[in-house]
């Protein structure tokens, strides 16, 4: 028994096993999020939402997955097959991979990389590749337009996203997400979202754009380019794209919680749950995900030029100014 455990804890095997667990959790998260999305939208729109499969409709995701598994996977005749089929995977794997460096609770982090934040930035940019592959591989005008929009949007919003992280990195003095959480302390007024409020809002907005949610869902734009880069997908490939989108939405919430809202730290010191602090992490992440959905069902969509204006003319200047403010404050206030 002990040898087996030792074997499992040996480095490459432990990493692979944990990635398996993460993959399982992320796929489940995606399924739960589809359900949450449908229920949340239903309550916003004065509807009931899915309520037929299982108690209170809770088994709806299972039924959806079953349906998508049994559906024929239609490939357009002119599609570039390898690129077309590779795109969903190129979108899903990065979205699942970044979860490896997110600390769930004091002891639960798969890999405490000392460059965790850089890892997050680097891996999420790969998602843009998947969008371009999907749009190019489908050989359809609508897909191509969606892919061009997606590439431009994701790459442009990387800039404010990265800039908004710098304040946190400066305050912590470390690139490791575990260090970031530890540095924030166990009371909500010591978390970074207060001193870094403009950065937090920029990160949130850029994050919305990064995961292609309303009001930044231009690559999909269902009323003009009917689904954009994913218009030609069906069955499991489509499900994989959806899973990737939901996984990256969950990821963006988790990372913003980790960086700005104290990660697994309890909001007040006496609420410390010890090893069960992942509950706080889960609650905060769910809250952020709910705001994502709330925005999704309340706001219309921006246009491409307005999106670029917002990114380059508003978000980037705000982050740059606050970067200098943070640096100045760190010089003036000692011991920070």
């Amino acid at each position: 028994m002990q040898t087996v455990l030792n074997l499992l804890e040996a480095e490459p095997i432990r990493l692979f096993l944990s990635f398996g667990v993460i993959l399982f959790l992320v796929l489940n998260l995606a399924a739960i999020l589809t359900m949450a999305e449908r229920k949340a939208s239903a309550y916003i729109q004065l509807r009931y939402g899915p309520n037929r499969v299982g108690p209170r409709g809770l088994l709806q995701p299972a039924a959806d997955v079953f349906k998508l598994f049994t559906k024929e996977n239609v490939t357009p005749g002119r599609a570039d097959l390898w690129v077309f089929l590779g795109a969903p995977i190129a979108m899903f794997i990065p979205a699942a991979l970044v979860w490896m460096v997110v600390p769930f609770s004091p002891d639960a982090v798969v890999a405490d990389l000392n460059v965790g934040i850089l890892f997050f930035v680097a891996i999420t940019s790969i998602g843009a590749l998947g969008v371009v592959m999907a749009g190019y591989g489908s050989r359809s005008t609508f897909s191509l337009l969606g892919a061009l929009r997606g590439a431009a949007q994701i790459i442009s919003y990387e800039v404010p996203l990265i800039l908004s992280l710098l304040g946190v990195i400066m305050l912590t003095g470390s690139l490791s997400l575990v260090d970031v959480v530890n540095a924030q302390g166990d009371a909500f007024w010591t978390w970074y979202f207060l001193p870094q409020l403009p950065m937090f809002l920029t990160f949130y907005i850029a994050g919305l754009a990064e995961v292609k949610r309303v009001p930044f869902d231009l690559p999909e734009g269902e009323s003009e380019i009917v689904g954009g880069f994913m218009v030609e997908y069906s069955g499991m490939t489509w499900a994989l794209i959806q899973a990737a989108e939901f996984a990256s939405m969950g990821l963006m919430s988790a990372v913003s919680v980790t960086l700005f809202l104290g990660g697994w730290q309890p909001p007040l010191p006496f609420l410390d749950l010890g090893p069960f602090n992942w509950v706080w992490f889960g609650l905060k992440t769910s809250l952020i995900m709910f705001t994502f959905q709330w925005i999704r069902w309340s706001l219309p969509r921006l246009r491409m030029d307005q999106l670029m204006d917002l990114g380059w003319k508003v978000l980037v200047p705000i982050t740059l100014v606050w970067l200098f403010v943070t640096a100045g404050a760190m010089l003036i206030i000692p011991g920070n």
Binding site: Q45, P215, S223
Partner: protein, 395 residues
């Protein structure tokens, strides 16, 4: 309307498969970049039914936009020639299926033009009451459609909640939710059920209370809504008149024209209402015009209910309906603009010729003129400005 060259091009677009056309375009700018041809529709979620737009795109900018209609053509005018006059009314219901009452009213006015029949005042009041309810049931969803096309999904469901309640009233009055066959030559089919005026009154009061929060506060001051609609589809009043626009698309450019006031019919002269105009001439202005017209409709409905006289609801028509020889003409202000019907009667019991002037069809002019130069996503709010209905532009 189209040059000969365009027409040939459009013909080839209709007959050739898309693949051949996509490989062919040879329009290059100074950088040697080509434009893309794109066929949007007829199966497209934002095309208000079955409309096909042949687009030429330079990046995301639209260079050319040719609407192709006819996917829902049902020979309405020809069928009408083989039916007796009263039997054409259910066909008019199928024209603009968001303004059925107005279609019936327009047709009935055209026939009554050639008949010596006195319409009882109660019937006139019921007609106007129904038409104004219909205007609400069309304007409110059209605001929702505009938001849907901008990417916000929620307002359409609020809008359809209102439409559903109005349809429930229609069902109680006429027996049908959409295809009413209620306004008849000489009057209306049946009197209002006794509890309906109170029901309408209650509904209207409730709507007034909800209107501000559900359709104005949610939409009007939203920064994204403003940036997507202000200045989009902008046109001047002269341009709009040149294109023959009517209804909200015309009034939003500042032209003060409303059939209900300028060519009064039915009992509109006896009722008080304002003709809403706006000066901006863009999508946002058309939204404001529609919002304000909803409030005017509420005002008209209240007046109808207060002033409604007692009495018969059907005039004396005689046994067989034979309008006298000549031309009959009726025009009404439908939610989308001027709906006019021209009837040629040869003295028999079937019309010799029926022609409908449908605002959805005429307002479609705007696409070709206004869309080029806009971005691709701007086509959707401009469609929302026109708010065409498939059954209207294809008769």
């Amino acid at each position: 309307m189209l040059s000969e060259e365009r027409r040939v091009e459009q013909q080839s677009a209709l007959t050739q498969p898309a693949a051949g056309r996509l490989a062919a375009p040879d329009v290059r700018d100074e950088f040697g970049l080509e434009t893309i041809d794109m066929s949007m529709g007829p199966q497209h979620p934002a095309m208000h039914g079955l409309l096909r737009l042949i687009l030429e795109l330079d990046g995301e900018t639209v260079v050319r936009c040719d609407p192709v209609m006819g996917y829902l053509h049902r020979c309405q005018e020809k069928i009408a020639e083989n039916r007796m006059y009263p039997a054409v009314i259910p066909l008019t219901d199928r024209l603009d299926y968001f303004a059925n009452m107005h279609n019936e009213h327009g047709y009935v006015l055209a026939v009554e033009d050639q008949l010596d029949v006195e319409i009882p005042p109660r019937a006139e009041y019921i007609r106007v009451l129904m038409c104004e309810l219909m205007r609400l049931a069309s304007h409110i969803p059209s605001i929702g459609f505009l938001m849907l096309e901008l990417g916000a999904f929620t307002p359409i469901l609020y809008a359809f909640r209102e439409r559903e309640r109005i349809q429930t009233i229609f069902e109680a009055v006429t027996g049908a939710r959409m295809m009413f066959h209620y306004i008849r030559i000489g009057g209306v089919k049946a009197d209002l059920p006794p509890d309906i005026p109170q029901q309408i009154w209650d509904y209207i009061e409730g709507l007034e209370a909800r209107f501000q929060s559900d359709f104005v506060d949610l939409i009007q001051d939203n920064e994204i809504f403003i940036s997507r609609t202000r200045g989009v589809g902008k046109m001047t009043g002269e341009k709009a008149l040149e294109m023959g626009l009517t209804g909200p698309p015309l009034r939003c450019t500042g032209v003060d024209f409303d059939i209900r006031r300028d060519y009064p019919y039915s009992i509109y002269p006896e009722l008080e209402f304002d003709v809403i105009t706006d000066t901006a001439g863009d999508v946002e202005a058309s939204y404001r015009v529609r919002i304000a017209e909803c409030l005017q409709s509420i005002r008209l409905i209240k007046q109808c209910l207060e002033k409604m006289p007692e009495g018969a609801v059907m005039g004396d028509l005689g046994r067989r309906l034979r309008p006298k020889e000549g031309d009959g003409f009726g025009r009404v202000e439908s939610p989308r603009g001027e709906f006019a019907v021209h009837i040629v009667s040869d003295g028999s019991d079937t019309p010799y010729r029926v022609h409908y002037r449908d605002p959805s069809f005429c307002n479609m002019q705007l696409l070709q003129e206004v869309v080029p130069g806009h971005y691709l996503p701007d086509i959707m709010p401009i469609m929302g400005l026109i708010d065409p209905v498939s059954g209207g532009w294809d008769k």
